[in-house]
Amino acid sequence: MRALLIRDLRLALRSGGGFGLGLTFFLIVIVLVPFSVGPASSLLSRIAPGILWLGALLACLLSLDRLLTVDWEDGALDLLSTSPIPLEGIVSIKALAHWITTGLPLLLVAPLLGVLLHLPVDGFGVLISSLALGTPALSMIGVFGAALTIGIKRGGLLLSLLVLPLYIPTLIFGAEAARRGAQGLEFGTPLLFLAGITGFVLALMPFVAAVVLRLNLR
């Protein structure tokens, strides 16, 4: 399993910088927001927490597409599934690799982008904690979606379609916590719910995703 993680990270690094790119997409989406809604700073600071969460979600989503497809297309997944690593392990590792290459960098630049959108100073801590709690769930759910749409050519959009509704609870609680934090309100409850969702997803999703993958490999 370590070997798989290392290989995935290495491939992400090699193939045009998988690390930087999810990040850059996030960056660019956030930067495009003022262009589209206008530069008024009061407006921007009001929508900042929500938009940052939405951007993080989309960046995750966009990098899901090839998460399993690449391995499926060149036959590596067939070979892996006949290897001693259990499928549950494979999907967990894939989710972990995805989080390390996408979620973690997002977390690190979110404060910077908060500045661009005039996020109120009080909001930074809560934003980061909500992202830290929420993005692992996004990765894990994403792997489930990727397992579902494997083998479907141009599955990218279908994947988004399947995964986005599953992302809604995470998004609601995450964005709510970040918004309350930015406005100086109480944010404990949504954060707690968010943690609950993530725990639940991380505990159960690997098994579901493995079942789906097994069905799809047949």
């Binding site: 370590r2 070997a3 798989l4 290989r7 290495r10 491939l11 090699r14 193939s15 391995d71 297309e73 060149d74 036959g75 590596a76 997944l77 067939d78 070979l79 892996l80 599934s81 006949t82 290897s83 001693p84 690593i85 490999l217 047949r218």
Partner: protein, 204 residues
Amino acid sequence: MILTVSNLTVARGGVAILAGINFVMVSGTALVVRGPNGSGKTSLLRTIAGLQPQMSGQITGAEDRIAYAAHSDGLKAAMSVAENLEFWSSVFGGPSIQPALNAFNLNSLASRRAGHLSAGQKRRLGLARLMVTERPLWVLDEPTVSLDAVSVSIFISALESHLANGGMALISTHIDLGLDAEVLDMTPFKDLAANVETSDQAFL
């Protein structure tokens, strides 16, 4: 160890294409699967490798013993030949890759990126992967495609030493490999399949 296939029915898209397959393989033997295009060789091998569910019948002795190799070799273009092999070796418990590199004459290519190999070189790498799995049962779908005469004989000798060490091999092919092995022809099973009901029978 023994691989037993009894009364196997193989289906594609819900329709049986092979039926009544029975055979037993023991350590040290190879079985060559032959038949015209579209006769179901690939489907049979994928079923035995567990990549496709059988319609009915039993396969025993295959679980966790199979190293499968088909047209798509699962090679990562961005990684070097050695890195590709090392990855598979560590997935299968970390045997050294050197014997595989030697056996398939890949030493001079070890640091080349897999994406820069020619068709035959890629195939050689795909076959070398079999050795690092240390699995006893090789299931090979047209392994000699794109290989030149020298590479074919390299492959045959690797295969023979695998068999001599107590391994087994199930191989589909269109050309004569010059291998001392039993042949399984698909044609009779195809005829038997014509009588099998489709899985959608209930709708009829």
